[in-house]
């Protein structure tokens, strides 16, 4: 069964149709790519899946359950989380506190437990701290654990954002242009990290990127958007040779290229 499924997903902003009748699936355990020229509607699809935008019409199913009318925190609780194209860390907090905070749902103690420091509080806090340290270790962030998030260099900020998302223990992670602004070396590291996320964290990945080499290198399945519409869907080789995709990418500079899938 596919983990995530969109059916005729549509989002309009006033007169603009940012996402137009898009149907695609993400298989459980896959690394799926979402590509398309600027303004194609990729980030909007992420905002719809994570509940930040309400859909205009259509459906989103996660493990067969409709999620398109739920609040973002509920969707996160069901196992979908994300990173942002323009990094959104808890800027003034340390690396450790960014991750510790995101792991909150691993504890269940109440406000009263916190105030009385009950054994439950102590035990669950210890557990959260342990998991936080483990994650920082796995993500190579231990060395900067006490640094302020905003003081990190760009590449590390991106990595921290992924680590914070993983602290939620998601079933599926959405990465919005994780390689943006990275040098080739960092991009290589990122590619292996994305494979590790799938294998070690048992997490399905849906990744947006402009970089064809990155997407083609790690994705088993690719969805191509253009002007809000789905242009193609399939394995990298098939997508790469698809004439409509080639036209969209090479001819995108020509204004108003009408492309039909």
């Amino acid at each position: 069964m596919s983990l995530l499924e969109t059916k005729n997903l549509t989002k309009q902003f006033g007169g603009l149709t940012a996402v137009d009748n898009v149907t695609f699936t993400v298989e459980e355990g896959s690394i799926t790519g979402l590509i398309g020229p600027n303004g194609a509607g990729k980030t909007t699809v992420f905002n719809l899946i994570t509940g930040i935008y309400k859909v205009t019409s259509g459906q989103i199913l996660f493990e067969g359950v409709p999620i398109h009318d739920r609040e973002p925190h509920v969707i996160a609780g069901m196992g979908i989380t994300r990173t942002f194209q323009n990094i959104r860390l808890f800027r003034r907090l340390s690396v450790r506190d960014n991750i510790l905070t995101a792991g909150h749902s691993g504890a269940r103690y109440s406000v009263v437990d916190s105030i009385l420091r009950t054994p439950r509080y102590v035990q669950e806090e210890r557990q959260l701290a342990r998991e936080c340290e483990r994650l920082m270790d796995l993500m190579d962030l231990t060395e900067v654990a006490s640094s302020r998030a905003s003081s990190l260099p760009y590449g590390l900020q991106r990595r921290l954002e992924i680590a914070r998302a993983l602290a939620v223990k998601p079933k599926m992670i959405l990465l919005d242009e994780p390689a943006a602004g990275m040098n080739p070396d960092e991009t290589m590291q990122l590619m292996s990290l994305i494979s590790r996320i799938r294998d070690e964290f048992d997490c399905t990945v849906l990744v947006i990127d402009h970089r064809m080499d990155l997407i083609m290198g790690i994705c088993e399945n690719i969805v191509v958007l253009n002007f809000g519409r789905k242009l193609a869907e399939g394995p990298p080789e098939a997508v790469q040779t698809n004439p409509a995709v080639i036209e969209a990418y090479l001819g995108a500079s020509g204004e108003g290229v009408a492309v039909h899938a």
Binding site: T81, F90, L93, I115, L128
Partner: protein
């Protein structure tokens, strides 16, 4: 200075601290600005005195009752405005503060604008200290829990907080409720300290003063809140020598500190044994990312 005079300043500091601790949770830790906290203080004050004098509740229970009523009154305000953008909440609290004052001005059972006299003076240095210390203790523990961290996350980056599963609305409501409770308890302390209550004691100036104390001490620091409040409560008294120039000097002092330390006295840091050890102990190796 006479002890009587110093004691007065200390008691008023403790009362202010109780209110400002609550506001610190809301503004400093959750990132919501309120210009109506004097309103919650008024509600709590009148409710506590009502509970004590008309319902016959003993003093500690009357204070708690005042806090609870203030907390409950905050809920509809939060419900209506906290899922909107921040500014609506801020404006709503401003309106609330003024509305409460006008309502109390006109409710004759509580003495109207002339106030409610003849409240037995029960608040003394001892019980103010007890309340302020318990209040500080509870607040420190609260902000050092997952609940506190979730509030801080909402302050830092609400959208990201929601995508890691934090119910931002719920945590804003919780923060507002607790913060209104603190203000309510402070209101009760105030009424039972002065022996009378008057609506004009709870004007917007008072709300603003509280907010200044939070920011002065440093957003997101309980230590800062404590020092900021004690300092800013005592300062106008110390400045009495300046007579009519007192408030000008007070304003200048606040501005000077805010310019030289824009993040407030504590700049979001806490003073703790561990922090002191770090400060005076051997230097840890600098953490520089590769």
């Amino acid at each position: 200075m006479e002890w009587f005079y110093v004691k007065g300043i200390l008691i008023q500091s403790g009362i202010n601290l109780t209110a400002v601790l609550g506001l610190s949770l809301l503004t400093g830790f959750t990132g919501l600005f309120s210009f109506g906290h004097a309103g919650f203080m008024a509600v709590g004050g009148y409710a506590a005195v009502f509970a004590g004098m008309r319902l016959g509740l003993p003093y500690p229970l009357a204070l708690l009752f005042g806090g609870l009523v203030a907390g409950i009154v905050s809920l509809p305000i939060g419900r209506l405005t906290l899922n909107l953008k921040g500014d609506y909440f801020c404006i709503a609290t401003l309106g609330f503060g003024e509305a409460i004052r006008l309502i109390l001005d006109n409710v004759q059972t509580f003495g109207g604008a002339r106030g409610w006299p003849g409240i037995p003076v029960t608040t003394d240095l001892f019980n103010v200290a007890v309340v302020a210390i318990i209040g500080t203790f509870v607040m420190v523990r609260l902000v050092n829990s997952r609940h506190g961290r979730n509030m801080i996350a909402v302050r830092e980056e609400e959208l990201a907080a929601r995508t890691v599963g934090i119910d931002a609305f719920k945590y804003k409501m919780l923060s507002l409720f607790i913060s209104a409770m603190y203000a309510g308890v402070a209101g009760g302390l105030q009424g039972y300290y002065l022996g009378f209550l008057q609506p004009k004691m709870f004007s917007i100036t008072k709300s603003t003063e509280f907010t200044i104390m939070v920011i002065f001490g440093g957003i997101g620091s309980i230590t800062g809140t404590v020092f900021g409040t004690l300092l800013l409560t005592a300062l106008p008294e110390v400045l009495r020598a300046f007579a009519i120039w007192r408030l000008v000097v007070y304003g200048a002092a606040v501005i000077f500190i805010m310019i030289s330390r824009p993040e407030g006295l504590m700049g979001g840091k806490e003073l703790s044994l561990a922090a002191l050890r770090r400060l005076f102990g051997p230097r840890p190796k600098r953490e520089v990312p590769s």
